[in-house]
């Protein structure tokens, strides 16, 4: 991933290389541009090639996914998340950890956003695990007024108590990053420097059904890193280029290291904003975000193979096959239920 920075240090390319975020790949033509001028047969052959370099990605043979109980938001999340971290081979000692919660919109009495107490628990757990620094950051796709969201949700108070810095990703300095997959047809995007320069990137979504994507959890959460000051709100370019395509390209490029899904109280129905709260009483964690999201889909009664971005990602980013996902912690059956979904997503339910 090539990084051209704007008003920032040059730490980004080094870190991207370390994470396998290809900074050395030359600029390639977009699929559309490439196809123009090709004979039909060659165009068909080119179309069939996946829009990523296979050698850049290795599917895990097995993907552990932890489901851990947390009955309410008064749980000791530092303890729960600490126990979860211990189940995975994730060394954060001396590293800068970036936590990306899901802040979208605030409506009193709803469960749109990752609960601040879960974020606080993660901060404490990563610091106890030896992280040099923990930064929390988000660039809401709807409401650009981050000051309002931080104060209304209570996250600003929580972070102030912990003396943890918040990074406003909509308005941060940006780095030009080459995309590691090109499902959108884009070759590069601008991403926030605060994200790009981090050693360990952790998705911290709220588990919700989504009226355009079917499911929003670990992977869809990365829409929030796309800087609004560059792309506008609600990151409309990602919609124009296709939501599943954008989810896959962002995850293939960012290559997040871990996820902690807030499924204590999830959202069903017309998510991600207007759905209803639904208690699940769990956190889901893992290093393979595709596998964690596939597991979350199964928990709420959705078939991951019918969710386009999970199906696409399963070819090269992570596992959705039950046989390659290893449950650790509680069994899926403990939480399995059926969430309501909007009518046009009825067909992705496991029940059919």
């Amino acid at each position: 991933m090539t990084s051209t920075t704007s008003g920032c240090s040059d730490e980004a390319p080094r870190e991207q290389r370390r994470r396998g975020l290809d900074i050395s790949t030359g600029v390639r033509l977009s699929r559309r541009a490439f196809l123009v001028g090709l004979p039909l047969a060659a165009a068909v052959a080119a179309w069939q090639r996946p829009p990523y370099r296979k050698e850049d990605f290795v599917l895990p043979a097995r993907s552990p996914v932890a489901l851990l109980p947390a009955r309410g938001y008064d749980a000791d999340f530092a303890d729960v998340i600490g126990r979860g971290l211990a189940m995975f081979d994730l060394d954060v000692r001396g590293k800068r950890v970036f936590l990306k919660p899901n802040l979208v919109e605030y409506e009193a009495g709803t469960v749109i956003n990752t609960n601040p107490h879960v974020v606080a628990g993660a901060v404490e757990a990563f610091l106890r695990a030896g992280a040099r620094e923990v930064v929390v950051g988000e660039g809401p796709g709807h409401r650009r007024d981050i000051e309002y969201l931080l104060t209304a949700t209570g996250l600003s108070d929580v972070l102030a108590d912990l003396r943890v810095r918040f990074a406003d990703l909509n308005h941060d300095d940006v780095a030009r990053v080459k995309l590691a997959s090109r499902f959108t047809g884009l070759t590069e995007m601008w991403l926030p420097v605060e994200l790009v320069k981090s050693d360990v990137i952790v998705s911290m979504p709220k588990l919700k059904t989504h009226h355009w994507a079917g499911l929003t959890a670990s992977m869809k959460n990365f829409f929030g890193v796309v800087p609004g000051a560059v792309y506008g709100w609600p990151k409309n370019l990602l919609h124009v280029k296709g939501i599943p395509n954008s989810i896959v390209d962002l995850n293939a490029t960012i290559r997040p290291h871990f996820t902690i899904v807030d499924g204590v109280t999830a959202m069903e129905g017309d998510g991600p904003i207007m759905g209803r709260p639904r208690a699940l009483g769990m956190l889901a964690m893992g290093t393979d975000l595709v596998a964690v999201d596939a597991t979350c889909a199964r928990v709420i009664g959705l078939d991951p193979s019918k969710i386009p971005y999970l199906r696409t990602a399963s070819a090269f980013l992570g596992n959705i096959d039950r046989n390659r996902i290893v449950p650790v912690g509680e069994p899926l059956s403990r939480y399995a239920t059926q969430f309501d979904v909007v009518e046009h997503f009825r067909s992705i339910r496991l029940a059919g």
Partner: protein, 296 residues
């Protein structure tokens, strides 16, 4: 308004200026269009602030203007069209921009249009209407449409009359088509998948500013009523600042909005956001300028 609050905000703005003359969203960050525009508006109008003059900000904006007319951030990305609408307001009275620069900027905005959305069943709205998008190739949204509409209305001599009238008419119809059932505006749609969406304060204040010369329209009146009732409902710098400007333009007393703004400035200083600091400072010094930059 407490002079000490104004003085502190002015000091934050003064210290936050970058060596290149612009402002970033936060201290130490690269200069960007939006905070630089607000700083320019602020400094041009309230010279008693001791926060420096607006000349450097205006020069930074001029340096970032492309030959086609639009201003871009230092990112080399597609220009943010909404913030270019704001820039028109910021540079309008500046000598540096009195030549062809302002004409090229307005002309470029006049030629920019949101992408046509497909007619679908997702939303009950007229997708044939196009205003302005945040970036080229995407759909029209309330905020960029409002900024650009206000910019066009504030610059009557800079576009051919027929072209200007057509863009203004279509943008007005788009905004009026997207009014929420409660009055006020969400970000784009007023409904989706059969559900009515909630209005928000910043979008409502901004759209009302763009429609101030249509204030007799029932949707504008309903939205003004919404904003008046919800003026303190989103107690943060951006919402309160836009509300303060909007209600002042509409002649609605709103001293409580400025008081809340000053209180927040003292409690958490807008989390050091220079863009919001400049917005708040502009509002808290409104006795000097009566928000003339936003009036038609």
């Amino acid at each position: 308004m407490a002079g000490s609050t104004i003085g502190r905000l002015a000091a934050v703005l003064r210290h936050g200026r970058n060596a290149d003359g612009g402002w970033g969203y936060y201290p130490g960050k690269a200069s960007r269009i939006e905070p630089t525009c607000w700083a320019a508006l602020c400094l041009a109008r309230a010279e008693t602030l001791s926060a420096g003059s607006s000349d450097a900000a205006l020069r930074w904006l001029a340096a970032r203007q492309r030959p086609v007319g639009l201003i871009d951030d230092a990112t080399g990305e597609l220009p943010n069209i909404g913030f270019n609408g704001l820039a028109v307001l910021a540079v309008r009275n500046a000598d540096l921009w009195s030549s062809g620069r302002a004409t090229r900027l307005i002309d470029a905005l006049g030629r920019t249009k949101g992408a046509a959305a497909e007619d679908g069943k997702a939303s009950r709205q007229d997708n044939a209407l196009q205003g302005w998008s945040w970036i080229e190739g995407t759909f029209s949204w309330v905020e960029p449409t409002s900024w650009c509409l206000l910019a066009l209305k504030r610059s009557p001599a800079l576009l051919p009359a027929r072209e200007r009238a057509a863009r203004i008419d279509e943008a007005e119809r788009l905004l009026l088509d997207r009014v929420c059932q409660s009055g006020g505006w969400n970000y784009g749609n007023s409904n989706v998948l059969g559900k009515e969406l909630n209005a928000h304060v910043p979008t409502t204040a901004l759209a009302l500013l763009a429609l101030q010369d249509r204030r007799d329209h029932p949707s504008a009146q309903k939205s003004l009523d919404y904003l008046t009732r919800h003026r303190l409902a989103e107690p943060a710098g951006m919402a309160l600042s836009l509300t303060s400007i909007c209600l002042r333009v509409y002649g609605v007393p709103a001293a409580d909005v400025d008081e809340r703004l000053a209180t927040i400035a003292e409690t958490h200083a807008f989390f050091n956001n220079l863009h919001i600091t400049a917005m708040a400072l502009y509002c808290l010094t409104a006795e000097d300028h009566d928000v003339d930059d936003f009036r038609l």
